[in-house]
């Protein structure tokens, strides 16, 4: 006689040390196997899109830092400024565009370091967390010297950047890159051949290329499943079309592949920053834009490659000082969609490994 078993509903979060924010997962379990996962979001909804309708275009730069993905403030500022510039037909000077590339790539490294550190700590490797934050502090120091802030900068402005690089900063940044590249090899050595890490990640949480495309997942999650799509290559913005870099793509689609893609991205970011530092032109850093600028009637959509994926912003203007409507296309939201597919069939112990591997920031999901 077969024993009757029941499925178990397990609630994980919103307070859980490994949910990377306030995410609630409702996991349906059959014994130890995951049958279904339903994310419950909205715990960090900041209503930033609505708030932006009540603030002028210039004021909104400070809001996208905090209201959108808080780990990548500079990338948020970049996509917002690009959208407003496209809407109003403003052309930032050449030097500002190079500076923007340098800063958004530095922010990409900082964001990946936070991801690597926290994910490794979820998987039981505490050392990686301390190492990653050691290097991240150096990047924040570089930021601080120019922007005055560690996390929220309000550095990119409509029509350029706020301040020029201080004397000696370019050399300092170059020295940091020389220091940083061997550190990536260290993380590599610490994790890539670590049997425990391999057992927890290799082959775990697979998602196919077709599923990734169907769910709209982008960024490292997509590239780890063989989707060779990077906005910096597909629709170059700023000066990425002048940069030489590779887009790391892997076919496996598991947690380990997502890890390898991000590690390779850090190396590529270093490569891009070096080129930008080398080619950095002189001249103006900002086109003059009135504090109460009005954008002409119309709409603009700009998307960029944020550290989590395809980050887009759609601004509709009715000709006033404030946007009529702002819509943010958040990469983490689509990546979270793919989570259910990744987790089905795996054991309950793999939930943390898979969740961490998609690098989700709840502020980006909820906005």
């Amino acid at each position: 006689m077969a024993l009757r078993t029941e499925e178990l509903m397990l609630n994980m979060g919103p307070q859980h040390p490994s949910t990377h924010g306030v995410l609630r997962l409702i996991v349906t379990l059959d014994g130890e196997n995951i049958v279904d996962v339903q994310p419950d979001i909205g715990y960090l909804h900041s209503s930033v899109e609505k708030m932006m309708e009540h603030r002028t275009y210039v004021q909104n730069v400070a809001l996208v830092d905090r209201g959108m993905d808080y780990l990548i403030a500079l990338n948020n500022e970049e996509v917002y400024c690009l959208a407003v510039e496209r809407l109003a037909g403003i052309q930032p000077p050449e030097r500002a565009r190079y500076i923007r590339v340098i800063f958004s790539e530095l922010n990409r490294i900082a964001s990946h370091l936070v991801w690597l550190g926290t994910w490794a700590i979820d998987l039981g490797a505490t050392t990686v967390f301390l190492w990653c934050f050691r290097e991240r502090e150096m990047i924040l120091d570089l930021f601080e010297k120019v922007t005055g802030g560690r996390l929220h900068h309000v550095y990119f402005r409509i029509g350029g950047v706020y301040a020029d690089l201080p004397e000696g900063w370019v050399e300092e940044c170059g020295a940091f890159l020389d220091y940083f590249l061997p550190r990536v090899d260290e993380y590599d050595k610490l994790l890539t051949e670590n049997p425990i890490f391999l057992a927890r990640t290799r082959g775990v949480g697979k998602i196919s290329r077709a599923d990734v495309i169907a769910m709209g997942a982008s960024g490292p999650v997509g590239r780890a499943s063989g989707v060779a799509y990077d906005v910096r290559k597909a629709a170059p913005y700023e000066v990425y079309d002048r940069m030489e870099f590779e887009v790391p793509v892997l076919e496996e689609g598991d947690c380990f592949a997502r890890y390898l893609v991000r590690l390779a991205e850090m190396r590529q970011a270093v490569r891009i920053i070096r080129q930008a530092l080398r080619d950095l032109p002189g001249g103006e850093i900002r086109t003059r834009v009135p504090m109460t600028m009005k954008a002409p009637r119309g709409e603009a959509y700009v998307h960029t490659e944020s550290p989590r994926g395809d980050l887009g912003i759609h601004i509709v203007s009715d000709g006033a000082e404030t946007p009529y409507r702002v819509k943010i296309r958040a990469p983490s939201f689509s990546n979270l969609y793919a989570l259910t597919e990744m987790m089905k069939g795996w054991k309950v112990a793999d939930v943390i490994a898979i969740l961490g591997s998609i690098d989700i920031v709840l502020s980006d999901v909820d906005r």
Partner: protein
């Protein structure tokens, strides 16, 4: 062993300080004992000793909401090393003494923060980290989803300003909380309660 003890701040509340002639013999005794190998003397009140222990091992709950949580993580990590203050993060509210509300709290998460605070064992403390947790911060106006300050839900002991506060600011907040804990009349309050009951 040279301890050179003075009674903790907790024991002096309200009363005038003792005259020098009254404390001199004790100081002499301490000096004599200190010179004996293996000697040494600590004089204190139980209350001050308990408070010293409690203040030096505040265990915060691992609970981050938004941007401030990243700075909180940085405070725990390599450069700032909050562990040296005795603050070791705990993953469950049952083991935690302190909840650092790091980041904006939405109306949806507010009851959960309240529940977490209720689950913590007494004595418990709250640090409100950053403008959002303190008053709603940049999300104060034109906003329908953010709670205008976590003190509407749970009582706050220390407010740390900033958007986000630097890790140094959070460490300062924890030091302020330690000062506050060291002054607490925990035993005198109990004694007063007994006296009232009797």
């Amino acid at each position: 062993m040279s301890t050179g003890f003075v009674a903790g701040p907790g024991s002096t509340g309200g009363e005038p300080p003792p005259r020098r002639s009254q404390i001199a013999p004790i100081a002499e005794a301490v000096a004599i004992l200190d010179n004996i190998p293996g000697g040494g003397l600590i004089l204190t009140t139980v209350e001050a000793a308990l408070n010293w222990g409690r203040a030096s091992s505040i265990w915060p709950l691992t609970f981050g909401l938004a941007c401030c949580a990243i700075e909180m993580m940085a405070a725990y990590a390599s450069r700032f090393d909050l562990d040296r203050m005795g603050a070791i993060p705990r993953a469950t509210p049952r083991q935690a003494d302190l909840i650092i509300v790091a980041g904006r709290a939405t109306i949806k998460i507010a009851p959960i923060v309240r529940r977490l605070w209720e689950q913590m064992a007494e004595p418990k403390y709250v640090i409100s980290m950053g403008s959002c947790a303190t008053c709603g911060g940049p999300f104060y106006y034109d906003n329908y989803s953010i709670l205008k300050g976590i003190d509407q839900v749970i009582p706050v002991d220390v407010y740390v300003p900033g958007c986000p506060p630097r890790p140094e600011a959070l460490i300062e907040g924890i030091l302020k909380l330690q000062e506050q804990i060291k002054r607490e009349p925990i035993l005198r309050q109990q004694a007063a309660a007994v006296l009232r009951g009797a």
